[in-house]
C-alpha cells in the first residue's frame, strides 16, 4: 500500500505540473490575442508576398556542325535607388564626379556633366527607381558595380539591376527565317516557333516577401518550384553551306533584280535540310533583301516545267518508252479547240523522243504525249494521270516541323473548274500549287531510288549535352513509282545537263555530274492574268541532285521575277545551284589530304584576316589558334591592322549616312552591309572586295549603284 501511495503522490505531482503547464499555454494564447493582439494584427497588414516567375533559360539552337544559331543571354536594365539612406550627402558629393565620369566613359552616350546632373536631380526628387541605362551587357554591369557609390554594395549603393533575357542569332541573316522566332501572341515562325515547347523549358516560381520599401526577399531558401531549363536543339543546317547558299542566292537576286528566291539543299538518304535560304525584297522595292518569308516552305504556286518530271513518270508508268517519239508541229500547237502553246525554241524540235522532250523541255511534245495517252476519251483517261501523280503523295503536305507549310493542290477531275485544257496544262506544271520544298522532296525521292523521305530540320534534342531525342529519317512513301521508271527518269535528268542542247548544259563539265530539270514558269502578276499589263512575270528554277551517279544531295533553286532581261531557269537558278554544289562537293567528299598545320605555320607568316564582323573574326582566330587582339566583338566590323607577332584588329568605323569602306570584305558581308544601307550592289568577280566604285565617306543616295570588284 505504501509503495503504491509513494508512487501515486509523485504521479499526482507531475500531473498537476502538467495541468499548470497546460493553463500557462492557454494563458499565453489569451495574452497574445487580447493584450498583444492589436500589435500583431497590424503586423499582419504589413505582410505582403508576391509570387515571381523564375524564367527558365531558353535552349539554344545549334547548326549541324556545332555553331550557335540562336542563343539567349541576359542583358540588364540598370536603375538607381537615389534615395538610398546609406549614400549620405558627404559620400554623394565626394563621389558623384568620378561616378559620372566613369559612366560617361563606359557608355559614351551622355557627357559627364549630363550624368552628374541627372543623378543629382534624381537624388533631389528622392527617386527610388531612377532609370540609369537600358540593355546593359553583363560585362558592362560588372564594371558599373565597381564604380564609386555603387561599389558600396547591393542595397547600400542603390544600384538595382533587372535582368532580362535577350535572344540573339549570332549569324543574323543566315537562315533566320528557318531558325525563326517565337513571340507570345504572334504566329510562330521557324524552328523557334515549332520547337518552342522544347526550347522554352518550364518556369519556376518563388514567393517573395517584402522586407522594406522596394526590397523583397525570398520567403524560403529554396524556390517553390524549381525552373527547368529548355532543351537545346541541334538543327541539320550546316552553317558553311548555308553561308554559300545565301551568298550565291543574294548575288543572283541582286544581279537580276528579282522579287524573291529560295535555295534548299537536302541530303538524299536522310532528308536532312543542310541549307535553306529565303530572300525577299522589302515591300518598299528598295532592293534590300532579307528573310521576310520562308518561301521554300510557305509559298505554293505553279512549279512550271520542273513538274514535267512527274508527267514523264506518269507516261513511263503507263508503258510509254523514253524512245517513243512525237512531232512538235513546228513548235506551235493548239489544243482543246484553239488553246495555243508554243515551245521556247522557235520552230520546235521536229519529231523527238520523250527523252529528248524532257531534255529540251518541249511543251508541245509533252502536251502531245499526255493528250495521246490521257486525254478524255482515251482508254486511260485523265483520271489515270491524276492517280499516278497522287500515288507519289505530292498532293499532300509533307508535314514538316516548321509551321506554315502551304497546302499543295493539284487539280483533279472532280474539281468544278476542270476542263479540257486542264490536263495539258497540268502536264506542264500549271493549274496547281506546290511549294519549292515539296517539289524538292519528289526529286529527292527519284534520286533516292523511289523512297520519299520527309525533309527535316532537326538532328537531335539535347538536355545539357545529353541526347534525349535523335531524329530518324521518316519515310513518306516507300516507292513513289516502279524502279524501272526511276532509272529512266534519272537518265532523262542526266540528259538535261549532259546532252547537247539540254536546257542545263551550262552545268556540264564539272568534276562531278549534276542531274536535274530547269523550270521557267510564266506566272500571273498579282492576279492580273498571265499577261496583265503586257508584262510577263517569270519564275526560274532548277531542281536536281548530285553526283548524278551516286546521289548524295538534292537541291532546288527558285527565283521569282528576274527583271534584267534574262529569265530562263538555267541562267537564273543554275549558277546558284552550281555554287552550292561546288561548295558541298569540295568540302564533303574529302578530296584533299589534311594539311600539316605546323609546317604550314612555320613557313608562312600570320594570315591576313578578311574584313568581317568581329565575332566571326575572333571565332576564326580562336579556332585556328592564331594569336589575335581585337577590342571588339559581335557585329562590329573589323579590319586587320597588322599581322606581325599577332593578328591586330580594330573596328572599322562607318557612319550610317556615309558609304562604308568594304575593301577586304567577303561577298556576303559586303552585300549585306551595303544593301542594308540602300545601295544597289553590282558584284564582279570572286573573292574579297578589291575596289569599290564609290569612295568611302561619300554621302549615300538610296538606290545608287555601287560596283564592287572582287579578286
Amino acid at each position: 500500500m505504501d509503495q503504491k501511495n509513494d508512487i501515486l503522490w509523485r504521479v499526482y505531482l507531475i500531473g498537476a505540473a502538467m495541468f499548470v503547464f497546460g493553463f500557462a499555454i492557454i494563458g499565453r494564447v489569451a495574452y497574445l490575442q487580447f493584450v498583444q493582439g492589436d500589435y500583431w494584427k497590424a503586423r499582419a497588414q504589413e505582410l505582403t508576398t508576391r509570387t515571381v516567375d523564375i524564367v527558365a533559360e531558353r535552349g539554344n539552337i545549334f547548326s549541324a556542325d556545332g555553331n550557335l544559331l540562336a542563343t539567349s543571354y541576359p542583358i540588364y536594365d540598370l536603375r538607381v535607388d537615389a534615395a538610398a539612406k546609406s549614400v549620405t550627402k558627404a559620400i554623394f558629393n565626394r563621389d558623384i564626379d568620378s561616378l559620372a565620369y566613369q559612366l560617361s566613359a563606359l557608355f559614351g552616350d551622355k557627357s559627364r556633366k549630363q550624368y552628374k546632373q541627372e543623378l543629382t536631380i534624381a537624388r533631389k526628387r528622392k527617386d527610388g527607381y531612377y532609370l540609369l541605362k537600358r540593355n546593359v551587357t553583363y560585362g558592362q554591369l560588372k564594371k558599373v558595380k565597381r564604380m564609386p557609390i555603387f561599389r558600396m554594395g547591393k542595397y547600400k549603393g542603390g544600384l538595382i539591376e533587372e535582368a532580362k533575357s535577350h535572344r540573339q542569332k549570332p549569324y543574323d541573316l543566315l537562315a533566320s527565317r528557318t531558325i525563326g522566332y517565337y513571340v507570345q501572341g504572334q504566329k510562330p515562325v521557324g524552328l523557334e516557333g515549332f520547337y518552342d515547347n522544347i526550347l522554352r523549358g518550364k518556369n519556376g516560381k518563388r514567393v517573395m516577401r517584402k522586407i522594406s520599401r522596394g526590397n523583397w526577399k525570398p520567403l524560403r531558401s529554396e524556390n517553390e518550384i524549381e525552373p527547368r531549363d529548355g532543351y537545346d536543339v541541334v538543327s541539320t543546317i550546316d552553317i558553311n553551306i548555308q553561308d554559300v547558299a545565301e551568298a550565291a542566292l543574294m548575288k543572283q537576286m541582286v544581279l537580276h533584280k528579282c522579287d524573291y528566291g529560295t535555295a534548299v539543299l537536302m541530303e538524299v538518304a536522310t532528308g536532312e535540310i543542310k541549307a535553306i535560304a529565303n530572300l525577299m525584297r522589302g515591300s518598299n522595292r528598295d532592293s534590300i533583301y532579307r528573310e521576310y518569308e520562308n518561301v521554300a516552305v510557305g509559298k505554293a504556286s505553279d512549279p512550271g516545267s520542273t513538274f514535267k518530271l512527274l508527267s514523264a513518270m506518269a507516261l513511263l508508268e503507263e508503258g510509254v518508252q523514253p524512245t517513243d517519239s512525237i512531232s512538235t508541229h513546228g513548235g506551235k500547237i493548239t489544243f482543246c479547240n484553239g488553246v495555243p502553246m508554243e515551245d521556247s525554241h522557235p520552230g520546235g524540235y521536229g519529231t523527238i523522243t520523250l527523252q529528248r522532250a524532257f531534255e529540251v523541255s518541249s511543251n508541245t511534245a509533252f502536251i502531245g504525249f499526255v493528250q495521246k495517252h490521257f486525254a478524255k476519251g482515251t482508254k486511260k483517261g485523265p483520271e489515270a494521270f491524276i492517280r499516278r501523280i497522287y500515288n507519289t503523295g505530292i498532293h499532300q503536305p509533307l508535314g514538316i516541323e516548321i509551321p506554315g507549310e502551304a497546302k499543295p493542290y493539284i487539280k483533279n477531275t472532280e474539281d468544278k473548274t476542270w476542263s479540257c485544257p486542264t490536263l495539258p496544262m497540268l502536264s506542264l506544271g500549271y493549274e496547281m500549287n506546290i511549294t519549292p520544298l515539296q517539289t524538292l522532296a519528289i526529286y529527292n525521292a527519284v534520286a533516292n531510288g523511289g523512297v520519299m523521305v520527309k525533309p527535316h530540320f532537326i538532328k537531335r534534342v539535347l538536355d545539357k549535352g545529353q541526347v534525349i531525342k535523335e531524329a530518324r529519317p521518316e519515310i513518306l512513301n516507300k516507292q513513289i513509282c516502279s524502279p524501272q521508271t526511276i532509272e529512266k527518269l534519272r537518265r532523262m535528268m542526266e540528259g538535261v545537263v549532259q546532252s547537247k542542247g539540254g536546257t542545263a548544259s551550262s552545268l556540264k563539265g564539272l568534276n562531278y555530274t549534276i542531274a536535274g530539270k530547269t523550270g521557267t514558269a510564266v506566272v500571273a502578276d498579282n492576279n492580273k492574268g498571265y499577261k496583265g499589263d503586257g508584262k510577263k512575270i517569270y519564275r526560274a528554277s532548277f531542281v536536281g541532285y548530285f553526283p548524278a551517279d551516286k546521289p548524295q544531295y538534292s537541291c532546288i533553286v527558285l527565283i521569282n521575277n528576274p527583271t534584267e532581261g534574262q529569265y530562263y531557269g538555267n541562267v537564273i537558278a543554275g549558277p546558284v545551284f552550281k555554287e552550292i554544289a561546288d561548295k558541298v562537293y569540295s568540302t564533303s567528299l574529302e578530296l584533299h589530304k589534311e594539311m600539316d598545320k605546323d609546317s604550314l605555320f612555320a613557313e608562312t607568316g600570320l594570315p591576313y584576316m578578311k574584313t568581317t564582323f568581329s565575332a566571326e573574326a575572333n571565332a576564326i582566330a580562336t579556332k585556328t589558334g592564331v594569336p589575335f587582339k581585337n577590342p571588339n566583338d559581335g557585329l562590329v566590323v573589323m579590319e586587320t591592322v597588322s599581322t606581325k607577332n599577332e593578328l591586330k584588329m580594330r573596328a572599322r568605323v562607318s557612319k550610317e549616312e556615309f558609304v562604308p569602306n568594304v575593301k577586304g570584305m567577303g561577298m556576303k558581308d559586303a552585300l549585306y552591309l551595303l544593301e542594308n544601307l540602300g545601295l544597289s550592289v553590282d558584284a564582279k568577280g570572286m573573292g574579297k572586295v578589291n575596289s569599290q566604285s564609290i569612295t568611302p565617306g561619300t554621302k549615300i543616295e538610296k538606290g545608287r549603284k555601287i560596283v564592287l570588284n572582287f579578286s
Binding site: M1, I7, I14, M18, I25, W40
Partner: protein, 398 residues
C-alpha cells in the same frame, strides 16, 4: 456496443480522444500543407491529404495491434528495442538523410517514408526504465548498479541523439528523469543525473566552439536561443525570428472563434506550418476555442493515463503507462509552447497532429501500450470480482 467491446478494449475515452485528434489532424494538415503541395507536388494538395490519411489510419492500426499485446511482454521487448535503437542511431549518425544539416532521419525503403530512430529510442527507453524500476527495487540504492543500469542507457542514448537533435535529447532526458522520480529513485541519484547532464551540455558547447565541424548544429541552437531571448525587439532577419513572428500573427488574427477551416493565411508564411507550428495554424483557423479543445484533449489523455495508473496493481504496468502518457503529453506541450513562443524553436512534432514521417506511428504505439495496461487492469478487475477478491493485493513486482 458489444462489437466495440469485443474489438476495442481498454479505456474507451482514450480511444475517443485519439480518434478526435486524428480527425483534427487530417483537417489541419490538409489546410496547412497547401504551401508544401504547391512547392513539391505541383499544386496537388490531395497528395498530402492521402499520404497523411494513410499514415493516420495505419497508426490507428498499430495502436489496435499493440493494445492486444499483453504488456508484460514489453518488459522483455524493451531490451531488444534498446539495442535496435542504438544500432539505428549509429546508422543515422553516419548515413541519415541530411535535412537542414540535421542527420536525424532514416528513409524506409519502398514506401519512402522517413522516420527518426530517436522515436524508437524514446519508446524503448521508457519501457526499459519502467522495467528496471519495477524489477530491482532492492538495488536502487547501489551506486554501481544504478550507474550501470540507469545512467549508462539514459546518457548513452541521449549522447547519440544530441549531436543531430538537441531538443529531442533534452526531452528524452527530462522524461527519463520524471519516470525515475515517479519510480522512486532517490533524490541523490536524480541530482547526480542533473549534474552529469549539465556537464555534458557544457562539454558539447565547448567542443562545438573548438571544432565547429564536430557539432554542425551548434550554430542553429545558438541562433534559436538568441532569437528567443531577443524577443520581438530583434530584427526580422533571422529565420527563427521570422517563424515566431508569423506564428504570433497566426494566433493573434485567429481570435476567439478563428477564421474557419481552410482559411488560414499564415500557412503561406510559416515554413513549418504543418508540423512544428501546426498548433498556431489550428488557433488561426479554429480560434482560442480550438486551441483550448486541443489542449484539453491532451489533458484528458493525461487524466485518463493517471486513472489507469491508480487502478493498476503492478509497478511495471503503472510506470509503463505513466512513462508513455507523460512522454506524449510533455512532447505535445513543448510543441505548443514553441508555437506560442513560450520556448525557443525546436523540432518537436505535436503527437497525433503534426504531419511528417512516422512520429504519429510512435505516438500510436505509445497509446497502444497505455491501452494494453488499461485492458489488463479491466481484465484483472473482472477476474478479481469473479473470484471474490480478498482485498487489494500488494503491488507485485512482476
Amino acid at each position: 456496443m458489444n462489437l466495440l467491446d469485443t474489438y476495442l478494449k481498454g479505456d474507451k475515452v482514450i480511444w475517443l480522444v485519439v480518434i478526435l485528434l486524428s480527425v483534427i489532424s487530417i483537417l489541419a494538415v490538409y489546410s496547412s500543407s497547401g504551401a508544401l503541395a504547391y512547392r513539391f507536388q505541383g499544386g496537388n494538395t490531395e497528395y498530402y491529404l492521402y499520404k497523411h490519411a494513410f499514415i493516420v489510419v495505419f497508426g490507428l492500426g498499430l495502436m489496435w495491434s499493440f493494445h492486444q499485446i499483453r504488456y508484460k511482454y514489453f518488459s522483455a521487448l524493451s531490451q531488444i528495442g534498446l539495442i535496435v535503437s542504438v544500432l539505428l542511431l549509429l546508422l543515422t549518425f553516419f548515413m541519415g538523410a541530411n535535412v537542414n544539416n540535421a542527420s536525424r532521419w532514416l528513409v524506409i525503403p519502398g514506401i519512402n517514408i522517413t522516420f527518426q530512430p530517436s522515436d524508437i529510442a524514446k519508446l524503448s527507453l521508457i519501457m526499459y526504465l519502467a522495467r528496471v524500476m519495477s524489477r530491482s527495487t532492492d538495488k536502487l540504492q547501489d551506486q554501481r548498479w544504478v550507474s550501470l543500469n540507469i545512467f549508462l542507457p539514459v546518457f548513452g542514448i541521449c549522447a547519440l541523439v544530441v549531436r543531430s537533435n538537441f531538443s529531442t535529447a533534452a526531452v528524452l532526458f527530462v522524461i527519463s528523469l520524471i519516470l525515475l522520480f515517479m519510480g522512486r529513485l532517490s533524490f541523490k541519484y536524480l541530482f547526480q543525473m542533473l549534474g552529469i547532464a549539465l556537464t555534458g551540455v557544457v562539454f558539447i558547447v565547448l567542443l562545438g566552439k573548438a571544432f565547429p565541424d564536430s557539432m554542425p548544429r551548434l550554430k542553429t541552437w545558438e541562433a534559436r536561443i538568441e532569437s528567443f531571448a531577443k524577443g520581438k525587439s530583434g530584427d526580422m532577419d533571422s529565420e527563427e525570428q521570422y517563424q515566431v513572428e508569423q506564428a504570433k500573427i497566426a494566433i493573434a488574427t485567429g481570435g476567439i472563434v478563428g477564421k474557419g477551416p481552410g482559411n488560414s493565411t499564415q500557412r503561406n508564411f510559416l515554413p513549418q506550418s504543418s508540423s512544428d507550428f501546426i498548433y498556431a495554424i489550428i488557433i488561426e483557423e479554429y480560434g482560442l476555442i480550438g486551441g483550448v479543445i486541443v489542449l484539453f484533449l491532451y489533458l484528458i489523455l493525461l487524466f485518463r493515463g493517471i486513472r489507469i495508473v491508480i487502478k493498476c496493481n503492478r509497478t511495471f504496468g503503472a510506470l509503463l503507462a505513466m512513462g508513455c502518457t507523460f512522454g506524449l503529453i510533455f512532447q505535445g506541450m513543448i510543441n505548443m509552447a514553441v508555437a506560442i513562443n513560450l520556448f525557443p524553436v525546436t523540432g518537436q512534432p505535436l503527437p497525433f497532429l503534426s504531419m511528417g514521417g512516422t512520429s504519429i506511428w510512435f505516438a500510436s504505439i505509445a497509446v497502444g501500450i497505455i491501452l494494453s495496461v488499461s485492458r489488463q487492469d479491466d481484465a484483472d478487475m473482472v477476474e478479481e470480482a469473479a473470484i471474490g477478491s480478498e482485498g487489494n493485493s500488494e503491488l507485485a513486482t512482476d
